[in-house]
Symmetry: C2
Subunit: 475 residues, 2 copies
Amino acid sequence: MAAEAANLHALPASDAVRLLRSGAIDAAALVEACLAQVREVDARVQAWAFLDPDHARAQAKAADEWRLSGRPVGPLHGVPVGVKDIIDTADMPTEHGTVLHAGRTPSRDASVVARLRAAGAVILGKTVTTELATYTPGKTRNPHDPEHTPGGSSSGSAAAVAAGMVPLALGSQTNGSTIRPAAFCGVYGFKPTHGLIPRHGMLALSRTLDHVGLFARSVEDLALLAEPLVGWDERDPDTRPRARIPFVEVAAQEPPLPPLLAFVKTPRWEIAEEETKQAFAELLELLGDRVEEIELFPSATEAWRWHETIMDAEMALNLAREWEAGRDRLSESLRARLERGRAVRALDYLRARARIRPVHASFLELFEQRYDAILTPAAAGTAPKGLASTGDPSFCTLWTLCGMPAVSLPLMHGANGLPLGVQLVGPREGDARLLRTARWLVARVAGGAECARARASGPSTRASSSCSSSATTRS
Amino acid sequence: MAAEAANLHALPASDAVRLLRSGAIDAAALVEACLAQVREVDARVQAWAFLDPDHARAQAKAADEWRLSGRPVGPLHGVPVGVKDIIDTADMPTEHGTVLHAGRTPSRDASVVARLRAAGAVILGKTVTTELATYTPGKTRNPHDPEHTPGGSSSGSAAAVAAGMVPLALGSQTNGSTIRPAAFCGVYGFKPTHGLIPRHGMLALSRTLDHVGLFARSVEDLALLAEPLVGWDERDPDTRPRARIPFVEVAAQEPPLPPLLAFVKTPRWEIAEEETKQAFAELLELLGDRVEEIELFPSATEAWRWHETIMDAEMALNLAREWEAGRDRLSESLRARLERGRAVRALDYLRARARIRPVHASFLELFEQRYDAILTPAAAGTAPKGLASTGDPSFCTLWTLCGMPAVSLPLMHGANGLPLGVQLVGPREGDARLLRTARWLVARVAGGAECARARASGPSTRASSSCSSSATTRS
């Protein structure tokens, strides 16, 4: 077992759970492997805002003792999870990426942290966030190239999973804060339906737009992480009592029919980089008759403005204390944004809010009539060079506004070798099925890439329309 | 049966239902009696915006044929109901009390109208509303004295029930539009918990503050009317799936312990008239140890401002079309209010909204620890003289803001002989129990009044603290 430990840190969580359950490994070894990887790479990546190795070891030891006592174990028993530093932990600081909250030590776990612990997880540490989960970067760098941004605001969570320091992590998304860093770091990201996972104990920016986000190394792992987090919490008024969603079971199923995807360029297609456009053209070719391009209704172009109005106004409410007591210690850009937010008219805010339902309803028609999911870029391109910006969230805005579930899949690469994310979006409440479709797409692309390899090494007898000819499709 | 018909119009709905079920009367006779009363008194009261006698008769005839066919009948089978003219009816105009919507004929029933029809009710006609359910009066007069306002905005519904023209009616309440006219007209009014009864198909002023309101001649009748109206409707996002609430059964129960009421003067006590203050002093004396006066938390004084901010901003949204296309035909006061609403800042609006939960939580503590209901005036006094104003809604504002259930009980009178309403308020979702407490209070006051009569006619041996000595307590 000691010999295996060297690679344990790179295991997908679902594999780790199987090994932990069978007793082939224990939580102590798994955590030790993660800590070793942190020592190995984190000086370069800087994914962690707080990490106390001894506290992580103590949790692992307690998990192992619990299992050895023969008591029932949860679905994440012994699995290390990173938690974005805007999500409260009773045993670690939570500093929100701002000096204004330096030294903040909440006395209670956020709902999601309590649910992680109930599922048996080891909270490895707190991951770096941008300033108050907005746009001013923290210290984290892209693990694939430290001169590039990891994306944000869940920078540390995405980078930690990508760099093999932890198999699972939690983040958040108010615009593109989960999908974008997942794409830039080349991991699997998942923003479930608004209201599915409670946000109590998490920094609030915008009740209408805030979501919990998930990071993992496979679709199966996203399902494993999502399942225990979903559910009603009276302290989050946007959650609802509902039947348990069997994420793991549904995500593992083969779709009864091959899914049909709706390729949506969105009104932001103009900012997509040339290689993104080319990569999607090749992906569409690979998918053949399983994808159709559709045009969005004209008013969709206004959705970005509606999102901005809502986010500005609600941030002005939720960050009023920071504004009043310490705005001189906020970044200039956040200060400007809050100033703008304070001036938003209620009428414009309410008008923007009132658009969400009809916009989602128009998507719902698409899903009910014909398509299993929307296919669209996760970002304009690969992670931009430089650390002064976390990149453009535009390709996430529309789906966040509507509270629709979205996943980012690391299926492609740019010419620079950096990951290029594919985003799938489903209808609200269609989360488990979206993961099932995502797993199908991952397999389909992997199969396509094998075709491409086969063709490269000799004449292929298979129809070329089912195979990608591009090196940008990940093998 | 023809001989009885002369008084059928004055029957409480629960009695009418029993007679209808037994076959002692039929719906045709009941409707005919109501129509006769309309002919008798409505020239003076003017409660109806629309009433087609033949259409009412046709509905009654259909109800009678249905019953005679032996098919199962609903809880309101054959009972006439008046519907405020802001609630859509597929078979009658719905004109919202403004020339801007003159001749408006919706093609579908509002959710509550559909539920009334499913319960077997006869929609007698549409009752007068103030301008767009706000503050500029319609034509209705107080049935007790036509020189006095009936209150508003549900003026016609309150007056029609009070004047014996219909046993039940629907209204609405965004500030004091059900409780106040019920008090001024001397009928029973009920504003259930926000979100309990769907508002789809009703003129929307304020999603946060709009409620459906109910009018009847007894607490039992309020329960009878409420029960079929409550329930989830996907077209009203503030309703929730929930178990059926057995209003009729619970309201009819004796409380297991004598209820304890919390007398709350509210920060508006200063505007209460002298005779209101005196009447409540006597009511408190009558209730003895079953009532305790409590002080509201200091921030409660701000609740009226929060209500105004929310109502102004949401009205500006919902009446934007009227503002844009026809503001010259709105009353000056509504135009001014909309102008003010259009200038509200989102930050102030959101702050006001954010106060609702904590304010309700502080009331919840009261209810959980000690009290069955809050006792407070329904209005500052009896209906004011004059028809230019519908009176002050202040004594309703706090409970409307919090979405708490409230009833107005016509238990007292002013020196001028006009009714003076007693308001009881419960915690959100505590509607059925509130009606049970209300029924207890009605009986207790009636019992007290008997004591008073007994004492007046000779020496009483009963403790005077359990009896009111005042002529202002209704017999």
